[in-house]
């Protein structure tokens, strides 16, 4: 009991929100491409590029937000490359996504060595991290409030963006046109809505959020860049997108689940469990959720019951 209490306490909640934020940001980006009918496994690479250039930008501009802006721009460049290949040149989206992920991994390591002369990571006092916020009223609400009132800003933004993305997708013309481009391109084309342009825009919006996710990793979550530091979060986001069909609210719940698994695994490490095993937890939870939810969405072979038969027969008559 005591053990459970030490595991499940206030700091676990705050850790969950902290670990949810990066995957939520990148998954929110993916909602745009998912709705636009693009299967985007390039999220991972966009996030990694975002993380790397955010650190670089932070050092160059000596400003955390300058770093975020440069990280986002870099991720959007990758996103644009993705959509040029997939939409304009009609290349296979899995192949292009895979190639860009590999490119991101290789490029960040190459540039790290070229610029900093180190292998694998950038740790430097010159990196300006994102400041913690201090929200006075929330901070005064006991220990939970203290934990929730002093995150770095992108964590709050991530949760606010759920609503923003929802409004963009379901209530604006842009969102409507993106959805139509994904669901029924022929309808869009016949009314002069440029589906290609919509898909490019969706991809760029995706890059924007993936870049924010990356910047949060390297400037908010911790203040450093490490080789492959996105460590599969982009792929987890793709899994979330598959079973949420790109709906921002469902995306939020999916991401909270993985954030919780992530936070729990970090917590479990302090109990002397093998860190390697504990680190598998988020991946296993993602895989488990993916399998379970696609099992539930499986096409069912229906058999009529006596009642349903009667109903259909009556309808007919």
């Amino acid at each position: 009991m005591e053990v459970l209490e030490t595991i499940f306490n206030v700091s676990l909640i705050s850790a969950t929100l902290r670990t949810t934020a990066p995957i939520l940001l990148v998954a929110l980006g993916g909602t745009f491409t998912t709705k636009a009918g693009i299967f985007n496994i390039g999220l991972e690479g966009q996030m990694l590029i975002g993380a790397f250039f955010a650190v670089l930008g932070s050092i160059w501009t000596q400003s955390a937000w300058g770093g975020v802006a440069i990280g986002v721009l870099a991720a959007m460049c990758v996103a644009l490359t993705f959509s040029i290949f997939v939409v304009t040149l009609r290349a296979n989206e899995v192949v292009v996504g895979l190639a860009l992920n590999i490119l991101a991994g290789g490029l960040t390591i190459t540039l790290t060595k070229a610029i900093f002369g180190t292998r694998g990571s950038i740790v430097s006092g010159d990196i300006v991290g994102l400041p913690r916020m201090h929200i006075p009223i929330v901070e005064d609400l006991g220990s939970l409030g203290k934990a929730l009132g002093s995150f770095t800003p992108l964590i709050y933004l991530a949760f606010i963006f759920v609503f923003v993305v929802w409004v963009i997708i379901y209530r604006t013309r842009l969102g409507l046109h993106i959805r139509v481009a994904g669901e029924k391109p022929a309808a869009a084309e016949s009314l002069g809505i440029p589906t290609g342009l919509m898909q490019h825009i969706a991809s760029l919006l995706c890059g924007l959020f993936a870049g924010l996710a990356g910047a949060h990793l390297s400037l908010g979550y911790i203040t450093m860049f490490a080789e492959n530091m996105s460590s599969g979060r982009g792929f987890m986001a793709v899994a979330v997108l598959i079973f949420s069909i790109g709906d921002p609210v469902k995306v939020l719940f999916g991401c909270l689940l993985f954030g919780f698994a992530d936070a729990l695994s970090l917590r479990l490490q302090t109990f002397g469990l093998s860190s390697y095993l504990v680190l598998t937890v988020p991946y296993l939870v993602t895989l488990g959720a993916l399998f379970l939810l696609t099992y539930r969405q499986r096409p069912k072979t229906l058999r009529e019951t006596a009642e349903s038969l009667q109903l259909i027969r009556r309808e007919k008559a």
Partner: protein, 362 residues
């Protein structure tokens, strides 16, 4: 009567280059563009591209030792590439070759250091263990893909992370050699794959890879089952309509793909490292997938693309010593090639109808 529709395709076919030649030309153009793109990146990081490329070439082919080194690097890529080809030709993606390779590598090492068996037999049993481990590692994603249509791209990618962490756990927390680095005890010499030359660790695994590639090619073109699999990969709905048991075949194709992926790891362990080391084969699985894509799913083509990638790897080692460029430059280069090929072949396809194309084809 639409006479022009009846005669022109024939006339057009006569003017076209043979498909394989046109494909090859396409890959060559892509390669040239990728070399230019890679050169620009090299310049951006402040190196001389000519120097970097010549160093790469010298590192890959500069002497018989270096050529053997290239083939040594190519060996696991050929096998992993065949693994990826198996999935691709069945119309599926196995991006989890990396994970299967780790599991296979560990399983082979485990049999190698845990049991005492006669020479030769020991090796065969260890390789069999690698095959089984690779197959088991893809079993759940394969089952869910076949039965419920769960996207295998994501499930196999994510299982890579689990495999790498799990083998690290087994190596460091369970089977760590006392006093050693992050590695298991060495395997018994009875399980070694024979070396081909005394100046290189190049081993019999190369022939395993070549035999697999040629064997898979013959399987696809000559056997009834290969015909069914290839048809399934070209048009899943046609295969289903024609009475091919598609769901069962999806399971079998992915299991075989995973098993060969496991074998790649076993060969690497038994032929090169003679123990399991954490991070013993970084990226070989991914290189295999890319090699298979670059070869457009052709197992014979994989032999060449894998040797090409192996040479790049071997060359990059020398390049890192003699220049300031990081060896990861070659992954950037590989990514460029794949991007160029994906777009370039596509440009060719846009002339034709793109219906009924393979799902993965680019």
């Amino acid at each position: 009567m639409s006479t022009e529709a009846d005669t022109t395709p024939t006339a057009r076919a006569g003017r076209q280059l043979p498909a394989w030649l046109e494909g090859l030309l396409g890959q060559m153009v892509a390669l040239v563009i990728a070399i230019i793109g890679g050169g620009i990146i090299v310049m951006l990081v402040g190196e001389d591209p000519i120097l970097v490329f010549t160093t790469l070439l010298r590192g890959a082919f500069g002497s018989s030792e270096r050529i053997a080194g290239s083939l040594l690097q190519a060996t696991p890529i050929i096998i992993a590439g065949v693994a990826a080809c198996i999935a691709l030709r069945g119309g599926l993606f196995n991006i989890g070759v990396e994970g299967q390779l780790y599991m296979g590598g560990f399983a082979a090492a485990f049999v190698g250091f845990q049991f005492a068996l006669p020479a030769g037999l020991h090796m065969v049993v260890a390789l069999a263990a690698a095959v089984v481990a690779g197959g088991l590692w893809i079993l759940i994603p394969a089952f869910f893909r076949a039965r419920f249509g769960t996207n295998e791209v994501v499930s196999t990618i994510l299982s890579n992370y689990v495999a790498i962490l799990l083998t690290s756990y087994l190596t460091i927390d369970v089977f760590k050699r006392p006093g050693g680095w992050s590695e298991t005890a060495p395997i018994a010499t009875t399980a070694y794959l024979p070396q081909l030359f005394d100046f290189s660790r190049l081993n019999f695994g190369l022939f395993i890879g070549l035999a697999l590639a040629v064997g898979f090619h013959l399987f696809l073109t000559r056997t009834s089952t290969g015909y069914e699999m290839n048809t399934m990969g070209s048009n899943m709905k046609f295969a289903e309509y024609g009475g091919i048991p598609v769901r069962r075949n999806i399971l079998i194709v992915l299991l075989c793909s995973g098993a060969v992926g496991g074998l790649a790891g076993g060969v690497e362990t038994l032929g090169v490292h003679h123990r399991f080391m954490e991070g013993f084969a970084p990226g070989f699985g991914f290189d295999g997938v890319i090699a298979a894509l670059l070869a457009n799913g052709s197992p014979i083509g994989v032999i060449f693309t894998a040797i090409f990638f192996g040479a790049l790897r071997a060359g990059s080692l020398l390049m890192e010593v003699e220049t300031n460029a990081s060896r990861e430059v070659i992954t950037v280069f590989q990514a460029f090639i794949i991007l160029c090929v994906s777009a370039q072949v596509l440009l060719r396809r846009r002339r034709d109808s793109n219906q009924g194309e393979r799902r993965w084809r680019f």
